[in-house]
C-alpha cells in the first residue's frame, strides 16, 4: 500500500477488498478504512450477496461480520474456501468471540478484528496477511513473551500445524490452559512432523479450549509470530506441501 504523505491523494494499490456486514454504518466505516490503505472496496450486506460479489470480482482480501441474517459469516467462509482453498485472506470482524474461534480457524479464517475497526491494528493485519510466509515469520517480535512451551512430543503427532500456526494439546502440559489469549509464548517443541524435528520460535495464543468439546481434547491454538532459521524453511515447505484449509487446526484426534 502506498500512501501519499503530502496531499490527500492516496495512490491506489489495484487491490480489492470485499466487505460484508448487515449494518450499513459498519460497512461504510470499514470500506473507508480500506480505502485509506489504497484498496477499492466492494460491499455486500449479507452472505449470499457476498458470495455472488466474490465470484464476480477479483478479490484480494475478504472482511466479514459473523452474525448476519441469512447466511452467517461462517457459512460464507466455507463457501469461499470451497472455491479458493488458501487465499485470499479472510478476516472476521466482530465484537464477540466465542468458543467457535477454533472452528473458524480450522475452516480457514486468517484473522479476527474487533468492531469498530481499529485503524492501527488494521494496517498491521493487512501488512502481515500480504507478506509471504518466509518473511512474515522472520523477525523476532519486540513484545516480551509471557510464557513458554518447552516440550518433547516426538512420540506422537499430537501437535498439529496449519497454514498460520499450530495446535498444542494440554495433555502435554496442563499449564498452557492458563495462557491468556493474545499473549506471546516462546516455543521449543521437539516433534516429528515430516522432516520438522523442532519448532523453535514465538507464537501468539489465538484460542484456548479448556475442556472437552464435541469430542475434541482441551488445548490451545497459536499463530506463528517468529520462527528461527533452522525450522522456518522446513515449516514453510510443510505448509505449502499440505495445502490445507486450516489456518490453525482445531485438534481433531488423528
Amino acid at each position: 500500500m502506498i500512501r501519499d504523505e503530502e496531499g490527500d491523494d492516496y495512490v491506489s494499490t489495484n487491490k480489492t477488498v470485499l466487505v460484508i456486514d448487515d449494518q450499513k454504518s459498519f460497512r461504510e466505516a470499514v470500506a473507508f478504512e480500506f480505502e485509506m490503505l489504497g484498496f477499492s472496496p466492494i460491499v455486500a450486506e449479507n452472505g449470499e450477496d457476498g458470495l455472488e460479489k466474490y465470484k464476480q470480482n477479483k478479490v484480494d482480501i475478504v472482511i466479514s461480520d459473523i452474525r448476519m441474517p441469512g447466511w452467517d459469516g461462517r457459512r460464507l467462509l466455507n463457501e469461499i474456501r470451497k472455491i479458493s482453498k488458501t487465499s485470499p485472506p479472510f478476516v472476521f470482524m466482530t465484537g464477540f468471540a466465542d468458543l467457535k474461534y477454533y472452528e473458524a480457524f480450522h475452516e480457514g479464517a486468517d484473522a479476527f478484528l474487533g468492531k469498530p475497526i481499529n485503524p492501527d491494528i488494521l494496517v498491521k493485519v493487512v501488512e502481515t496477511l500480504s507478506s509471504p510466509l518466509g518473511s512474515r515469520w522472520n523477525h523476532k517480535p519486540e513484545e516480551e513473551s509471557s510464557g513458554e512451551i518447552d516440550l518433547d512430543v516426538k512420540k506422537s503427532s499430537s501437535v498439529q500445524i496449519g497454514r498460520l500456526g499450530l495446535f498444542v494439546p494440554s495433555s502435554v502440559d496442563e499449564k498452557i490452559l492458563d495462557f491468556k489469549i493474545g499473549s506471546l509464548i516462546n516455543l521449543q517443541i521437539v516433534c516429528a512432523l515430516d522432516d520438522i524435528n523442532k519448532i523453535s520460535g514465538v507464537g501468539r495464543v489465538l484460542w484456548v479450549r479448556p475442556g472437552d468439546y464435541e469430542g475434541l481434547e482441551p488445548g490451545i491454538g497459536l499463530q506463528f509470530e517468529y520462527l528461527n532459521d533452522e525450522c522456518l524453511q522446513k515449516i514453510v515447505s510443510y505448509i505449502e506441501k499440505h495445502d490445507a484449509v486450516e489456518t490453525i487446526p482445531k485438534g481433531e484426534k488423528a
Binding site: G95, F96, G114, K115, P116, N118
Partner: protein
C-alpha cells in the same frame, strides 16, 4: 509483575550473607545446587551495600542481622528508595522464635520470601526448592510469590484484616485472576464475611471451572454446616450483586451476545441502546443502574463525553465498563480518571467478559463503605457544603478500616475546598506517598500549586499525571494555563488542541484559547471568541494579572505590550472593560516614565466608562500633566499601580518554595516505582502488629552512592578482597 531476575539462573548474581564462613559456604553450595551459576558470599550487609553500588545484584539471601551496624530491614528500605536497586530480590533467613515479628514490616518493604534458619543444608535446600517451584508456578512473578509467603505469616499471627487488605490490593493488580480471587474468598471467610466469600467463590468458578474442587474444599473448611452447596444453588444475582444492566453499543451483535452472557448468570433486566443520546435520556429518567457496559465510539454523544455526563448527573456508584477495539492498555488510566471502572478489548470471549465484570463489581463494593463515603464527601465539598462534609469525614476517620491513603486524600480535598492550598498540597503529596490515587492527587497538587502561583511545580505535577494518563480536559487546560504563565506558547497551544480533539465545544477551552491568542498576539482570533460577558471578564482578569505581574517583575515593555494586545482583542461592545484596561495601560506607562503615552492612553477612556474609572483617570491625568508641565517626577501611590479586577496572587516566602519543590520532587520520583515492581511494596501495609522496633531500626538509612565499575578500588575477584576486610 514482570519476570523477576531469579528466572535466569545463569545470569542472576546471588549474594548470600552470614557472619560465619562455614555457613556462608553451605549457603553457596546450596544455591549452586539449585542451578544458580553466579554466587558470591559476604560477611556483612555493609559489604553487600558497597558491592551493590557497583554491580547489579539479582538475589540477596541474608539473615536479619538486627544487631549489626547495617541490618536487612535497612537494605529492604533502601531498595524501595533507590531506583537502581529495584530489581534486587531479597530472601530472609529468620529465627522464627525471636524474629518473626519483623516479617510483616519486611514484606511491606518488598521482601520476597523468608526461610527458617537452619544449619542443615538438606533442610534449607528443600525450603528453597519450594521457593523455586512457587516461582515457576507463578511464572516468576515476584509479587505473587511474596504474597504467598506473606499469607502464611499473616495467617499464623491471625492478622486477618491485613490479609483482607492485601488480597483486595492484589486483585486490583491482577484483575481477572481466579487464583487471587480465591485467596480473597479465604480472607473474607477469615473476616467473617461469609456471604461475600461465597459470592467471590462463585466468581472464581465463573472464571475457571477447574477450580471447582478447591472452592468446595474452602467452603467445607469455613462453613459450619457442611453445605457443599453447588454454585447453581446460589441465590440469583448473588454472584455479582447486579440486578439490572444497561448496554450501549451500535453493534447489535454485542446486544445479542451480552444478553446471552448476562442471562447465563441470571441477570435478566437489560436495557439496550445504540447511541449515547438515547441512552442518556433514558437513564436520566430512572434510578442509577447496577452496571453500564458501553462501547467507546458511539453515535450522538461520544463515549468519553457520555461517561462524564453520567457521572455529573449524579450516578457516581454504578460501575462503567467500556468495551472497545480502539483502546490501548495505557488508556485505562484516562478512563479511570473519567469515571470508567474497567475496559475490555474487542473481540472479547466469555471468560474475558466475566473477568472484567467481576473486577468492576469487586472494585465497587467496599466492606467499610469507604469508597461511597469518599464519593459522598467529595460531592459535598464540591457543592460547598463544608459542615456536612465534615460530619461524614468524622465517620471516615473514626472507622479503623479506613486506609491512611483514603483519609489523606479526603483531607487534601477538604483543605482545597477551604482554599487552604498549602495544606491541601501537602496532604496531597503525603497521600501519594501512601499509595493514594496518584492521578487524582497529582491533579489536586497541581491545582494547588496553580493557585499558589507555583507554575513550575504545577506544570511538573500535571506533566507527571499526563505521563501516567494522557488526556483529561481539566488537566490539559491547567497545563495550557501554567504553560502560558511560563511563556511556553507552543506547549499551551498543544494542550489546547488536544482538548479540541476531545471536546471541541468546551467553554473553558474557548476562554483558554482566547487568552493564548491574546498572549501570542493573534488579536483577530482572540476578538472573534464567541464568549459571553462572563467569559470575557475571566479572560480580561487573567490578562490583566499577567500584565501586572510582568510589570511588577521589571518587564515593563512586555507588560505594556500585553495590555495593548488585550485592548485590541476586546470587542468594541465591551466598552467598560476596554476602558478599565486603558486605565491600567495608562498607569503602566506612567510608572515606566512614559508620561505622554500615559496621557494618550487615559484619554482613550470612553465616555461610557464607569464613573469610578472616569474619576480616577481624570485625577491621574491631572497629576501627570502637572508633572510634565513642571518637570517633576510622578509619584504613584502603591494602590494605584494595581487596579486589578481580581485579588492579588498569594505570595510565599522564598524558603517555602524550595521546601515544596523538594517534597514534590520526591513524590514524583516515587511514583516511578510502580506497584508490583518490588514484591508487595505499595501493595501490603502492616496495619496489625507493633513495629516500633522495626521503625527504629530503619530510622537512619545507610548512604548509598552509585558508582561505576571503573571507579572501584578493589581488584578482582571481589570476594577475596572483601573477605580480607571482614
Amino acid at each position: 509483575m514482570k519476570h523477576c531476575g531469579l528466572k535466569q539462573k545463569d545470569r542472576c548474581l546471588t549474594i548470600v550473607v552470614d557472619p560465619s564462613s562455614s555457613i556462608r559456604q553451605m549457603l553457596v553450595d546450596m544455591i549452586k545446587d539449585l542451578g544458580y551459576a553466579r554466587v558470591e558470599s559476604m560477611a556483612s550487609l555493609r559489604d553487600v551495600l558497597h558491592y551493590m553500588e557497583i554491580e547489579q545484584v539479582g538475589w540477596l539471601i541474608t539473615p536479619l542481622l538486627i544487631d549489626s551496624d547495617c541490618n536487612a530491614l535497612q537494605i529492604l528500605k533502601l531498595i524501595t528508595k533507590v531506583s537502581r536497586l529495584r530489581h534486587t530480590c531479597v530472601s530472609l533467613l529468620v529465627d522464627m522464635k525471636t524474629e518473626s515479628q519483623y516479617l510483616p514490616f519486611a514484606f511491606e518493604n518488598g521482601l520476597i520470601s523468608f526461610h527458617k534458619k537452619s544449619y542443615v543444608k538438606e533442610v534449607l535446600k528443600e525450603d528453597f526448592d519450594r521457593l523455586c517451584s512457587l516461582m515457576n508456578m507463578y511464572q516468576w512473578d515476584a509479587t505473587l510469590c511474596a504474597a504467598e509467603y506473606l499469607r502464611t505469616i499473616l495467617s499464623e499471627k491471625h492478622y486477618y484484616k491485613s490479609m483482607l487488605a492485601l488480597e483486595e490490593n492484589l486483585l486490583s493488580l491482577y484483575p481477572g485472576s481466579d487464583k487471587v480471587l480465591y485467596h480473597l474468598a479465604e480472607a473474607e471467610f477469615l473476616n467473617d464475611q461469609k456471604d461475600q466469600a461465597v459470592a467471590t467463590l462463585g466468581q472464581v468458578l465463573l472464571l475457571n471451572e477447574r477450580m471447582g474442587p478447591h472452592c468446595k474444599r474452602l467452603r467445607q473448611k469455613y462453613e459450619a454446616e457442611n453445605n457443599a452447596v453447588d454454585p447453581e444453588n446460589l441465590n440469583k444475582n448473588s454472584i455479582l450483586g447486579v440486578k439490572n444492566v444497561v448496554i450501549i453499543d451500535p453493534d447489535t451483535d454485542i446486544h445479542y451476545h451480552g444478553k446471552e452472557l448476562l442471562n447465563a448468570i441470571w441477570i435478566e433486566d437489560i436495557e439496550f441502546f445504540e447511541n449515547g443520546e438515547e441512552a442518556f435520556q433514558w437513564m436520566s429518567t430512572t434510578k442509577e443502574p447496577d452496571l453500564i457496559i458501553m462501547e467507546w465510539r458511539i453515535p450522538a454523544v461520544s463515549g468519553p463525553v457520555l461517561v462524564q455526563k453520567i457521572r455529573q448527573h449524579g450516578f457516581l456508584q454504578v460501575p462503567v465498563i467500556v468495551i472497545s477495539s480502539l483502546l490501548k492498555p495505557e488508556d485505562i488510566h484516562l478512563l479511570r480518571e473519567m469515571g470508567v471502572d474497567a475496559c475490555l478489548d474487542k473481540p472479547f470471549d466469555p471468560r474475558g467478559f466475566y473477568s472484567v465484570l467481576i473486577w468492576a463489581v469487586q472494585q465497587n463494593r467496599c466492606p467499610t463503605e469507604q469508597k461511597s463515603l469518599q464519593l459522598k464527601i467529595r460531592r459535598l465539598l464540591g457543592a460547598g457544603k463544608i459542615s456536612e462534609a465534615e460530619r461524614l469525614m468524622s465517620h471516615l476517620f473514626s472507622d479503623e478500616r479506613s486506609t491512611k491513603a483514603a483519609k489523606l486524600e479526603i483531607e487534601a480535598e477538604y483543605f482545597f475546598a477551604k482554599e487552604d492550598y498549602i495544606q491541601s498540597r501537602n496532604k496531597g503529596i503525603e497521600a501519594i506517598n501512601h499509595s493514594g490515587d496518584s492521578l487524582l492527587m497529582l491533579n489536586l497538587v497541581g491545582k494547588c500549586m496553580l493557585k499558589l502561583k507555583q507554575f513550575d511545580g504545577a506544570l511538573k505535577a500535571f506533566d507527571k499525571a499526563n505521563n501516567i494518563s494522557s488526556l483529561n480536559i481539566e488537566r490539559l487546560l491547567n497545563i495550557a494555563e501554567s504553560s502560558l504563565y511560563l511563556e511556553d506558547i507552543e506547549k499551551s497551544k498543544d494542550a489546547i488542541s488536544q482538548v479540541k480533539n476531545i471536546d471541541p465545544h468546551n467553554s473553558d477551552m474557548t476562554e483558554m484559547e482566547c487568552k493564548m491568542n491574546i498572549e501570542s498576539g493573534d488579536v483577530k482570533s482572540a476578538s472573534s471568541m464567541n464568549g459571553d460577558l462572563e467569559s470575557w471578564k475571566n479572560v480580561i482578569s487573567y490578562m490583566n494579572n499577567r500584565a501586572i505581574s510582568l510589570s511588577r517583575n521589571g518587564r515593563f515593555e512586555d507588560g505594556i505590550d500585553l495590555y495593548k494586545k488585550t485592548i485590541e482583542s476586546i470587542p468594541d461592545r465591551w466598552k467598560l472593560m476596554k476602558s478599565s484596561v486603558y486605565y491600567n495601560l495608562g498607569l503602566a506607562y506612567a510608572r515606566y516614565g512614559e508620561l505622554d503615552s500615559a496621557i494618550k492612553s487615559l484619554k482613550k477612556i470612553d465616555d461610557a466608562a464607569s464613573i469610578d474609572t472616569t474619576k480616577k483617570s481624570l485625577s491621574l491625568m491631572k497629576r501627570i500633566q502637572n508633572c510634565i508641565d513642571h518637570g517633576v517626577k510622578l509619584d504613584l501611590r502603591d494602590e494605584e499601580y494595581y487596579a486589578s479586577m481580581i485579588p492579588w496572587p498569594v505570595r510565599l516566602p522564598a524558603d517555602h518554595v524550595t521546601e515544596d519543590e523538594n517534597a514534590l520532587k520526591e513524590v514524583l520520583s516515587k511514583i516511578d516505582a510502580k506497584r508490583g515492581d518490588i514484591g508487595c511494596y505499595m501493595i501490603f501495609y502492616a496495619i496489625e502488629g507493633n513495629y516500633d522496633d522495626a521503625l527504629k531500626l530503619t530510622e537512619n538509612l545507610p548512604v548509598f552512592k552509585e558508582r561505576s565499575p571503573i571507579e572501584r578500588n578493589e581488584s578482582f575477584p571481589l570476594n577475596d578482597s572483601l573477605k580480607k576486610n571482614s
